[in-house]
Amino acid sequence: MMRRIVAPLILPASALFLALITGAVFIVLSSPLVEGSFDLGLPLKAYAALVSGSLLSTNGWIDTLVNASPLMLAGLSVAICFKAGLFNIGAQGQTLIGALAAAAAGAVLATQPVPIAIVGALLAGLVAGMLYGFIPGALKAFTGAHEVVTTIMLNYVAIQVIAWAITGPLLAPGASFARTSDVGSAALPVLLGPTGHHLHAGVLIALATIPIASWILNRSTIGFEVRTVGANPDAARYAGMRPRLLTVGTLAVGGGLAGLAGTIEILGVSGYMPAAYATNIGFDAITVALIGRANPFGVLFGALLLGALRAGAASMQIQAGIPVEMIDILQGVMLFYLSADVIVRRIFRLRKVEGGVDELATVSRSYGGQTTAP
């Protein structure tokens, strides 16, 4: 049992270690810009601030969990699509559309009784995300348009939709900047901490989704079919499964999960949505899914890791003067080592680890040529 949990973590942990070392070299090289002269101790100072801001206090833990919750949901979205041989780069757009729908529903239901308002707003975000995932799914299944391109395009369409909706029909009357009205009673209950810096109930939704997704993927018939389509679409068809339906369904469910990620951000953290809403959840989700090797419990690990990095970034900037963009660098470098696992395996003398996101082969293979519907 222990081996089953630890073994898949060896490669990501090694990649993280190498990324931190690479980051340290980079921090030392850039230290003249931070402090005026080279400082070999600066990486230690930065990483210490990173850890103390995310893991060494109650507030740090709250921040880590609040950051990790939407990453779990969006990370699952990318992960289950990987399992079906689909690359959902559109988690970002689905998150945004989910957030928009939740903000809109929340504003409408703001004065309703709490249970109705919360359930209504959650459903709105979920359904909107599902619809936004359904589009690339249907396009892939029935026209062969590759989901990588369509989801990238839909991400940008989502930005325009939000800019239009929040400066137009959803604009809160009398607000000093373009934003939606407060979600009022649709706000998720506070579990811990002072308002404004609190742990919201969205974390429970995210944590509950992980084992459910794991069970569905690994123990249910539908999960078996999804994995079969991802591993070998032809075999799936000969076995009497319906790859088209599974493609549409998986992307729709993935969209719903990403939509839910945006929803808990709005209902749990900000309580409204500004027109200039900026988030990185959908892109971080790709990293999370790859760190977790498309396995739900791996996603939990990846989301906590990235959530902690994001949570500690602010204190790293304040205490050590290292800009928060360091997290993007670490994230990119870590993905680099995960992809170029030959390097990692040579350094740590690891044997070829089984697993990995094998279904990615299906994703890339379908990119070129006259892609017929699966």
Binding site: T143, A145, V157, F283, P323, E325, A340, V363, G368
Partner: protein
């Protein structure tokens, strides 16, 4: 004539055609300038995808090149001091150093992409994602640190001044203004698109590249080195992305802002697909997309009169901004004419018996 414009429906359509034309004539130069980074980014995509490698990292390559071009020019400016700009495009030594730095950055990032996708045979889409993430992180990080000392700008290339007798010509004068009153990077985009189109379809290199992108196994059997061809093309493609980056900070603008490419690397990807993986097609798509973008602004600043004005003003400007993305989805889905990627794009190549 006026009576014709008052006919219902037909009249509005005629007014629309007239207005669309008027926007081209008055905004021609800016439309072409805005199309340049999209074209160059798409040419980078042509080099990659025609030889069988997906590249969604164009955005990151452009962003990093824009930063390095600006930074190198600024450093050179600080050490060399101000110099008299040449009459031709306002060229100065720091600007040339910046241009070389931008091209070098594009080359270097492409090398990473080539190594990951060709040698390591990692997933090419993830490789592009890595490039995008790292580019955002690195440029944001360094820009924030540098902004504390606010380094001076080295200026930018000047637009060419076409002779008056050309731009004052009736009817076609605006065309000369559109194509000639441009900075060097913008102009090179047009020239490069045409050259690449000819090379790709009329030269030995082009034939080999397309063979590698469509059917690498067959290419290998007739003696083409698939791996080397892919490496060469992907790395050279980085030059186009680097040039696109230089457009941002050395040609169109003269300073760097965090995240300034703002998704244009992805519109370049859209132009590549919309142009059906043809260099000149991509250029046409880039013009169309730049035009759609400027139309949204034109309607606000220079609204058409009458009934047409009421109709166009009712369309939110965001609809025009979203147009490139929507059109790309439509054409990829094959609703109106179909756009198909080279057959071997996305598949790492393994030599026969390499195991």
């Amino acid at each position: 004539m006026d009576a014709l414009l008052d006919v219902p429906v037909l009249g509005v359509l005629l007014q629309l055609v007239g207005y669309l034309g008027a926007v081209v004539v008055s905004n021609g130069p800016i439309i072409l300038a805005l199309a340049a980074p999209l074209t160059l980014g798409a040419l980078c995509g042509v080099m990659n995808e025609r030889s069988g490698v997906v590249n969604i990292g164009i955005e990151g390559m452009m962003l990093a090149s824009a930063f390095m071009g600006w930074f190198a020019a600024s450093v050179a400016f600080q050490s060399l001091g101000p110099s008299e700009p040449s009459e031709f495009f306002g060229i100065t030594p720091p600007l040339l150093i910046g241009l070389v730095a931008a091209l070098g950055t594009g080359l270097l990032m492409s090398l990473v992409h080539a190594w990951l996708s060709i040698s390591v045979r990692a997933d090419q889409i993830i490789s592009g994602t890595i490039i995008n993430i790292v580019a955002v992180g690195l440029t944001g990080y360094l820009n924030l640190l540098l902004s504390k000392s606010s380094p001076p700008t080295a200026g930018k290339f000047e637009a060419f001044v076409p002779p008056h007798f050309l731009t004052d010509l009736p009817l076609v004068g605006w065309l000369f203004r559109m194509f000639l009153a441009q900075g060097p990077v913008t102009m090179s985009a047009i020239v490069l698109a045409v050259i690449l189109q000819i090379l790709l379809f009329r030269s030995r290199w082009g034939l080999r590249t397309r063979a590698v992108g469509e059917h690498p196994r067959a290419a290998e059997t007739v003696g083409i080195n698939v791996i080397a061809t892919r490496y060469r093309n992907v790395i050279l493609g980085g030059l186009f992305a680097g040039l696109a980056g230089a457009w941002f900070t050395l040609d169109f603008g003269n300073s760097f802002q965090t995240g300034m490419t703002n998704g244009r690397g992805f519109i370049a990807l859209a132009a590549l697909i919309f142009g059906r993986w043809h260099p000149v097609g991509a250029f046409g798509a880039a013009i169309l997309f730049a035009y759609a973008g400027s139309l949204g602004t034109a309607i606000r600043t220079l609204p058409p009169t009458g009934q047409l004005g009421d109709i166009l003003s009712a369309i939110p400007p965001q609809a025009f901004s979203a147009l490139p993305y929507v059109l790309t989805i439509v054409i990829l889905a094959g609703v109106v004419g179909r756009s198909v990627a080279p057959a071997a794009v996305g598949r790492p190549y393994e030599k026969e018996g390499a195991h």
